[in-house]
């Protein structure tokens, strides 16, 4: 396993652990709360849509 793959595995595991923890422990904010917070105004929504558009263009139209 390369260094990069190991780091990605660590980051992925951290995401998974925190996703489960925020589901099980009630007061912890989930990722849905973070996304919803960005959709509260036009500025946040435009930022979220810009990130979404860039990710889509890169993933489906360029070399990943």
């Amino acid at each position: 396993m390369t260094v990069g793959a190991a780091v990605w595995a660590g980051i992925g595991a951290a995401w998974l652990v925190w996703l489960v923890a925020s589901r099980l422990v009630r007061p912890l904010p989930g990722i849905d709360a973070v996304v919803k917070a960005f959709l509260g105004s036009w500025l946040g929504r435009v930022l979220a849509l810009a990130a979404w558009a860039e990710a889509g263009w890169h993933l489906f139209g360029q070399r990943p």
Partner: protein
């Protein structure tokens, strides 16, 4: 259903339009899965989806945003502090992806290169495209101040609504 949100009644035409929309999106996903990422059709379709979603956001979201951008900007830092672990995870993901991109080394793959192993297959590309499409529609239509809530007299919006556009 005392106190519950009243479901808006839908006409048969609205239901038919929704069904046609779902079928059209499913066809788009299936077709997109068959395209190569360098093809002109792929570039045109992804660009068309992005433009359509942005236009939909402007049309469907006019005067239906919960807070003004100024009010939101004041509260988002506090919110991200409360969700500190998520902020750290997102920052770590973006930072490592950027570092891997700058390094351009085979031992340091970018996130998109890892996902590329999935999107290289037709089914993988269609699946990831469907997820991206659903996320885009949620970012466009989700968390709006609905006309149903206003008509049903469920009280004023929590914060001052913003004006029409971004």
């Amino acid at each position: 259903m005392a106190g519950g949100r009243r479901r808006p009644t839908t006409t048969p035409i609205a239901r038919l339009a929704r069904a046609v929309g779902v079928v059209a999106l499913a066809a788009l996903v299936a077709w997109e899965g068959s395209l190569g990422r360098y093809s002109a059709a792929s570039h045109a379709s992804v660009l068309a989806v992005i433009v359509s979603v942005v236009l939909l956001a402007l049309v469907a979201g006019r005067s239906r945003q919960r807070a003004s951008s100024r009010t939101w900007a004041g509260g988002i830092v506090r919110m991200l502090r409360e969700a500190a672990v998520w902020s750290v995870l997102i920052a770590a993901t973006v930072s490592w992806d950027l570092a891997s991109f700058v390094a351009q080394s085979h031992s340091l793959p970018t996130l998109s290169r890892i996902l590329g192993a999935v999107t290289d297959h037709d089914w993988g590309r269609a699946l990831v495209f469907a997820a991206w499409l659903v996320l885009g529609l949620y970012l466009t239509l989700g968390e709006r101040r609905g006309p149903v809530a206003r008509a049903a007299g469920e009280g004023p919006p929590r914060e001052r609504p913003s004006t029409g556009g971004p």
